[in-house]
Amino acid sequence: QQPVQSPQAVILREGEDAVINCSSSKALYSVHWYRQKHGEAPIFLMILLKGGEQKGHDKISASFNEKKQQSSLYLTASQLSYSGTYFCGTETTDSWGKLQFGAGTQVVVTP
């Protein structure tokens, strides 16, 4: 089951903050976050695991609410390099190792 991401798109000025949400209709084992720039491969940002463990870049923060089956990615003090499409990938507890990706959130950061 594909997770639902919101918003579909967001436009920010440099220095502004944004939140991207990802929700699942099924119980989650993990949530992965990736960013993809046009014409390039997705790049890893963060993994959040059931039980609270997180792995990722220091400058990226995210939360995982297991009970609500939701995750949020926080873009703080955005930079021009943050522009791209952000995807969450979810692995449900009944689907070992299989990431289902959301439709993506397009982020544009302007000067």
């Binding site: 993990s30 390039e40 499409t85």
Partner: protein
């Protein structure tokens, strides 16, 4: 050093042809994946191999056949290509299910 590489980068072919895409990773990872990204940027898993064994096989037409000759390679062969197969195909690898996936640069397949 390229972590995950794919060849070719672009593939333009006629309907009905058979084609292959090759993927290699030099990260020593145990798990490799194939994803399809369509024109709407929807990224969908197709297959996953762990130590040369198929562990994920999504609802994909049997015209698509993955092959993993060893842990470092995962190839994708597509028979009787159709217009709807046009997409960008990404190979990825990870150490395990709890680790980040490293994506290759993608192969843009165009079926005419």
């Amino acid at each position: 050093d390229t972590a995950v590489s794919q060849t070719p980068k672009y593939l333009v072919t006629q309907m009905g042809n058979d084609k292959s895409i090759k993927c290699e990773q030099n990260l020593g990872h145990d798990t490799m994946y194939w994803y399809k990204q369509d024109s709407k940027k929807f990224l969908k898993i197709m297959f996953s191999y762990n130590n040369k064994e198929l562990i994920i096989n999504e609802t994909v037409p049997n015209r698509f056949s993955p092959k993993s000759p060893d842990k470092a390679h995962l190839n994708l062969h597509i028979n009787s290509l159709e217009l709807g197969d046009s997409a960008v195909y990404f190979c990825a690898s990870s150490q395990d299910r709890d680790s980040e996936q490293f994506f290759g640069p993608g192969t843009r397949l165009t079926v005419l």
